[in-house]
């Protein structure tokens, strides 16, 4: 008996090869999307770790001084007196290449003898001959540098040639002792020299910018810290790595969110496939039960077939997932602006955990998904099992249960989101909300189409179309949910990006109000106040703002300080989100209060009225938070302080940039030329038109979200394909009913139209449902995920385009799904359809 029962099941599979194919494809897609997304995510994560390790190497700590750097004697002391062997000095400064249109270069001075062993051998270049001399040349030849290939090419020099740089208004000839291969253009903008050369060229004899360290334990850390003179701090490299991590966090968050989404979609695809398989053989189950098959035998049959489909699907899915993963990894790598990241990410890794997840979903998931409907079919009296109406009643009950469960999940997600504060909790809440909302989809669609059907009483064809959704909920429910999830993701992410972009542009408009900005393009580069005075006195210039950006080393990383010489008329360029605008101005102006950006406030849990401490040159000082302002410029936050107060407290009169406001009626072009003339010859100082900064910023913003958009499309596509398969299987299941309609007198075109319309209504229902769900998702991304990841606030902008796109996509998927069944139904002779089970 058991053999026959199993055989009956197996035959049912082979009998309908297209349906079998669709079932296998459904599982395969589910597995593939989970594995592919996971691989992309993990590869990106690994790459990020690696690129961070490439930066800090095994560096655990760094020593920074004040704006003037630190004395070299400290380094010698660390090595010879404290026995800190794992240490390397760095001195960086800006020079300008006169021969390349005043192109700024950062001259990086290192000690090539101790640097490499410290940082590990990962960066050993595979260069051939000639380096034997490079080290000696760097050490012995005053003014010798290594140039990256791109810079050398730009200047038209080869190894052995010379370049002339300007530094501090003076000209220096540097010898190019080697040209470094730099296919990734990572090194562009840099020239490398021995620390002696760097000190001499930059005129910073006796100084270092920082010291990189590997400190093995807390003991060593304390010993080093105790040995540091005042004003010099030891910073854990992890703090910097954290800062970098945050910089790329948007990226990883995207991937995580999409991984999650992929899991939901994958779950639905697998569940849809398996429950559909059982639903299709309900009648057979009833008959088998009637002739005496036990429940266990029925379960065995269903599970063995589920396992077979799961196995086949998983096998294809894993392969497909790997292909998908490779594609995604490539995509992620290519769209990344950071090429070493790119390189690292291309070292694509197959994580056993991802594969395990895929297998679990594909095989175990398939079997688990098949159990409840199989159990149900095996439990009801055989006659009821053969009865379609009983099945649909079950499905409606199921939909109500699912909706109830979905409501609970929604509620739970809401509670998690409200009650928690962490990012992981936010994602958990998001997951619960997506799941909950999608579980509401079947019932909502059924109700919607039933209500619509009521609008057309006595129109059997229209009702046939509309009632199709509700009346065959056993087969359509899960497909609707899957489609709704996918479409809502498409809508949600699009709305999120729209909102972010809109807010970003408004912020740019508001905060960039000067006509021109003059800034140093180099890390830590500065200009003298003399330049500011010169520019202030230029004809056509009404007034200028003086700005100084300084990364203040602190025990847990850096505090980005922005010292701004602001006048009252410039105050309006700040979007004060918390605190009284007027009171904040007064406190800011007094130097006792500071403004902090939203990310800073969020990360440090600061409110208006609270205080924060900064280590100034005069010792630690506390400042009152006078206001919190919107700033998308820095993901880790910035502290805005009145420049005169900064000058006094940090003994630093230099400037990082100037905002230039023109007087009314002055000729822009002429002033621009005068400004260019004023900065000519200054290392790395550039005059930039505000409009071009805005455009550039928006371009950078868009670049950052290219990946998001592509992933969004991918999620949509996978869901699209999956749902097309599900709906197709659904239509193929109706051949008998279609044959009756043909007998009654439906033409082929009418029949095709009917199938298409039914499928389209399904798509429409899912699409309509996914609009509120997508908006909910967008709302959560904007106000919860984004806020918790960065602390940014933004306006919620809804434009009709993404919504229309989403609904259109849903209907498109459904219509596409109808093509093959319609074609097949039309060309089947009715007599054949009538014989079908």
């Amino acid at each position: 008996m058991t053999q026959s029962v199993l055989r009956a099941g197996r035959r049912a599979l082979w009998r309908h090869p297209v349906q079998l194919l669709l079932a296998v494809a459904g599982v395969a897609l589910g597995v593939a999307v989970v594995i592919g997304m996971d691989l992309a995510n993990q590869s990106a994560g690994t790459a990020m770790r690696q690129s961070m390790e490439a930066v800090t190497g095994r560096i655990t700590h760094q020593i920074f001084g004040g704006p003037e750097g630190l004395p070299e004697a400290l380094y010698v002391k660390l090595r010879t007196r404290l026995g800190v062997q794992q240490a390397a000095p760095v001195l960086a400064g800006g020079v300008t290449l006169a021969a390349a249109g005043n192109r700024p270069l950062t001259l990086l001075g290192i000690d090539p003898i101790v640097d490499a062993p410290l940082r590990g051998a990962s960066a050993v270049p595979q260069q051939g001959e000639g380096e034997q001399g490079i080290l000696q040349d760097l050490l012995l030849d005053p003014g010798s540098v290594v140039l990256p290939a791109e810079e050398a090419q730009r200047l038209g020099v080869v190894a052995g040639g010379t370049v002339t740089v300007q530094v501090g208004g003076q000209q220096r000839r540097l010898h190019v002792v080697a040209v470094a291969e730099d296919s990734d253009h990572d090194l562009s903008g840099y020239a490398f020299a021995d620390i002696a050369t760097a000190q001499e060229v930059l005129g910073r004899i006796g100084r270092l910018s920082r010291i990189d360290l590997i400190l093995g334990n807390a003991d060593a850390v304390n010993r080093v810290r105790a040995a540091l003179p005042p004003g010099i701090v030891l910073v854990p490299a992890a703090a910097r790595a954290n800062a970098m991590q945050q910089m790329r966090a948007a990226f990883q968050i995207n991937l995580t969110a999409f991984s999650l989404l992929a899991l939901v979609i994958g779950l639905f695809l697998v569940f849809n496939t398996m429950s559909f398989m059982v639903v299709q053989r309900r009648r057979m189950i009833g008959i088998l039960r009637a002739v005496g098959a036990t429940r266990r035998q029925i379960l065995a049959q269903v599970l063995s077939d589920a396992a077979l489909i799961g196995l086949l699907g998983t096998a294809f899915g894993v392969l497909l997932g790997l292909v998908l993963g490779v594609g995604l990894v490539d995509l992620v790598g290519r769209s990344s602006t950071h090429s070493s990241f790119h390189e690292a990410i291309m070292r694509f890794q197959i994580e056993p955990f991802s594969l395990a997840k895929g297998f679990l979903l594909g095989i175990v998931g398939s079997m688990l998904a098949a159990v409840p409907p199989a159990f149900e079919a095996a439990t009801v009296p055989p006659r009821a099992a053969m009865d379609r109406s009983e099945l649909e009643r079950q499905a409606h009950r199921g939909a109500r249960w699912a909706a109830g469960f979905g409501g609970v999940a929604l509620l739970a997600g809401g509670v998690i989101l409200v009650a928690s504060s962490g990012l992981i909790a936010a994602f958990t809440g998001l997951f619960a909300v997506i799941l909950g909302a999608s579980l509401l989809a079947p019932l909502a669609s059924a109700r919607l189409t039933t209500a619509m059907a009521r609008l057309v009483p006595q129109r059997p064809i229209a009702r046939l179309v509309l009632r199709g959704v509700a009346a065959s909920l056993s087969r359509t429910g899960v497909a609707i949910a899957a489609l709704a999830v996918a479409i809502s993701a498409v809508i949600g992410v699009a709305v999120m990006i729209d909102s972010f972009r809109g807010s970003f542009i408004v912020w740019l408009q508001q905060s960039l109000r000067a006509d021109f900005y003059i800034a140093t393009t180099q890390e830590g580069g500065t200009v003298d106040d003399a330049l500011a005075k010169r520019i202030e006195s230029l004809p056509g210039v009404a007034y200028i703002t003086r700005s100084r950006h300084y990364r203040l080393p602190s025990a847990d990383g850096f505090t980005a300080i922005w010292a701004l010489g602001l006048e009252r008329r410039g105050w309006q360029s700040f979007d004060i989100r918390a605190g009284d605008r007027e009171a904040a101005w007064l406190a800011f102006r007094s130097g006792r209060g500071v403004l902090i950006s939203e990310p800073y406030a969020y990360k440090h849990g600061l409110q208006v009225g609270e205080t924060l401490a900064l280590r100034t040159a005069l010792g630690e000082r506390t400042f009152r938070v006078a206001g919190i302002f919107r700033d998308y410029g820095s993901p880790y936050g910035v502290v805005l302080i009145y420049r005169p107060a900064y000058q006094r407290l940090f003994a630093d009169d230099r400037l990082s940039g100037l905002g230039v406001y023109l007087s009314a009626g002055s000729e822009r072009g002429a002033v621009h030329q005068r400004l260019e003339a004023a900065v000519a010859g200054l290392a790395g100082v550039r005059v930039r038109d505000t409009q071009s900064i805005r455009e550039h910023s928006v371009a950078v913003f868009d670049q950052e979200f290219v990946i998001t958009s592509v992933l969004r499309l991918l999620a949509a596509m996978v869901a699209f394909v999956g749902v097309v398969g599900a709906l197709m299987a659904l239509q193929l299941d109706r051949s008998r009913e279609l044959a009756v309609l043909r007998a009654i007198g439906f033409t082929r075109i009418q029949l095709g139209g009917l199938i298409t319309a039914q499928s389209g209504v399904l798509g429409l229902a899912a699409g309509l449902f996914s609009v509120p769900m997508g908006l909910l998702l967008a709302w959560l991304l904007v106000f919860v995920i984004n806020h918790r990841a960065f602390g940014w606030s933004m306006e919620f902008t809804i434009s009709p385009m993404p919504l229309l796109e989403g609904v259109g996509l849903a209907i498109g998927a459904a219509l596409l799904a109808a093509l093959y069944p319609a074609w097949r139904a039309a060309r089947t002779l009715p007599a054949r359809g009538l014989r079908e089970e």
């Binding site: 090539p112 490499a116 090194l187 004899i205």
Partner: protein, 389 residues
């Protein structure tokens, strides 16, 4: 982001430095034997360096300091130690100075220098036969590495030997530590300084320019602590200091040398070196010194002694075979005994690769301790040594 790129770029560049002075390099590709490192660079590069051509008066403590115009120079400390319970150890701490150029224009930055310093530190844990060795490189500038007099101090980072008084080298304190392996020894000299060769002029080949200035302290009493894997052991024993500077040691036809420093239990000390030619034969400029109980020394020429390799040990790490057991015969001194490595694996697989290790003297009526140095093995100029001991 800029910062990130900068650091990345930096990492790539320092790779160049790494490639040059990497500690453990691929043996097939990058190892250079010690002998090769001490051979004169192809003649024209020698121009401008001070040359050792004959005896010169030595002056101390000045000559304990650096001689920057010579191309190479070293301060060599080796010794056999033991705990009170008799657990035996060997140690080696050497400071090398290399001039990268004969001269340098004046420069503003103190970092600028033509002096490169390298130090090797090794501890032989003889009982479990464990050998730990380390290498450091540093420029001879800004106080990172160097040699000074009044008082004498030779250092690289925090590895150092420092005289305890202003005008004499000994007593001195010898310190080195890395990765939990360390020595901190108080050294005092039981015998006066010995000028090797002809009043310190030690000729290495027929060309009088292939020579060095060479003096030694052959019997130093060592006392202090040795640390290993978190344990600190009070130790005592005897050590040896070798000092040499030169611009060119080996001639083109010489492959390397086998060098022995032995402290015999009858109170005599013996230094012997055999310069190996590329054809495997001993060069007639091989030489030695025997130092009596009270420090009186007697020069030995190649004809006065024979060194015969008895057994070889093949390094698993590098595949090189080293003669680690020798028959030593000095008929004029009525000395005949075997010298055996106290443990076979004391190979320093560095970019400049050599074997340097603690040895025992095994004879009928004589015993002793010492150090053996084997250079120039495993390079293409090595004569065919037996594949296995």
């Amino acid at each position: 982001m800029r910062y990130l790129l900068a650091a990345l770029a930096l990492a790539v560049l320092v790779g160049i430095g790494w490639w040059l002075i990497a500690d453990t390099a691929d043996p097939d590709q990058q190892s250079v034997t010690k002998a090769a490192a001490f051979r004169a660079p192809e003649d024209d590069d020698m121009a401008g360096y001070a040359k050792v051509t004959g005896p010169r008066p030595m002056q101390f403590p000045e000559d304990h300091g650096a001689h920057p115009d010579y191309r190479i120079e070293w301060w060599y400390f080796t010794g056999n130690l033991a705990t009170a319970q008799g657990r035996p150890f060997g140690f080696e701490l050497t400071f090398f100075r290399f001039a990268m150029a004969p001269s340098m224009p004046p420069r503003a930055s103190d970092w600028a220098t033509r002096q490169m310093w390298v130090a090797n530190f090794a501890v032989s844990d003889i009982k479990p036969e464990r050998f730990r060795f380390f290498k450091r490189s540093q420029r001879g500038a800004v106080g990172l590495a160097g040699a000074q007099t009044h008082p004498v101090r030779v250092w690289l980072d925090d590895w150092q030997v420092r005289a305890q008084s202003v005008d004499s080298l000994f007593p001195a304190r010898l310190q080195a530590e890395q990765e939990g392996v360390g020595i901190d020894l108080h050294l005092s000299s039981a015998k006066p300084l010995v000028l090797q060769g002809d009043a310190g002029y030690s000729r290495k080949s027929a060309d009088p320019g292939n020579a060095s200035y060479y003096y030694s302290y052959t019997r130093l009493q060592a006392q202090g602590t040795l640390s290993l894997e978190g344990e600190s052991y009070p130790v005592s024993g005897t050590a040896w200091m070798d000092r040499e500077w030169s611009s060119s040691v080996l001639a083109a036809d010489q492959a390397g040398w086998d060098w022995l420093s032995l402290q015999l239990d009858d109170g005599r000390d013996l230094m012997l070196y055999r310069l190996r030619r590329r054809d495997g034969s001993a060069d007639p400029h091989s030489a030695g010194t025997v130092i009596g109980k009270r420090g009186e020394s007697q020069h030995l020429t190649a004809a006065d002694f024979t060194l015969t390799p008895l057994r070889y040990w093949r390094s698993e790490a590098t595949g090189v075979s080293y003669p680690v057991t020798w028959r030593v015969q000095v008929p004029s001194q009525h000395l005949e005994f075997d010298v055996e490595a106290r443990m076979p694996n004391q190979e320093l697989d560095l970019r400049v690769r050599y074997w340097e290790g603690a040895v025992s003297v095994v004879g009928e009526n004589i015993s002793g301790r010492g150090y053996l140095e084997l250079t120039g093995y495993g390079s293409e100029d090595q004569p065919g040594a037996p594949a296995d001991g």
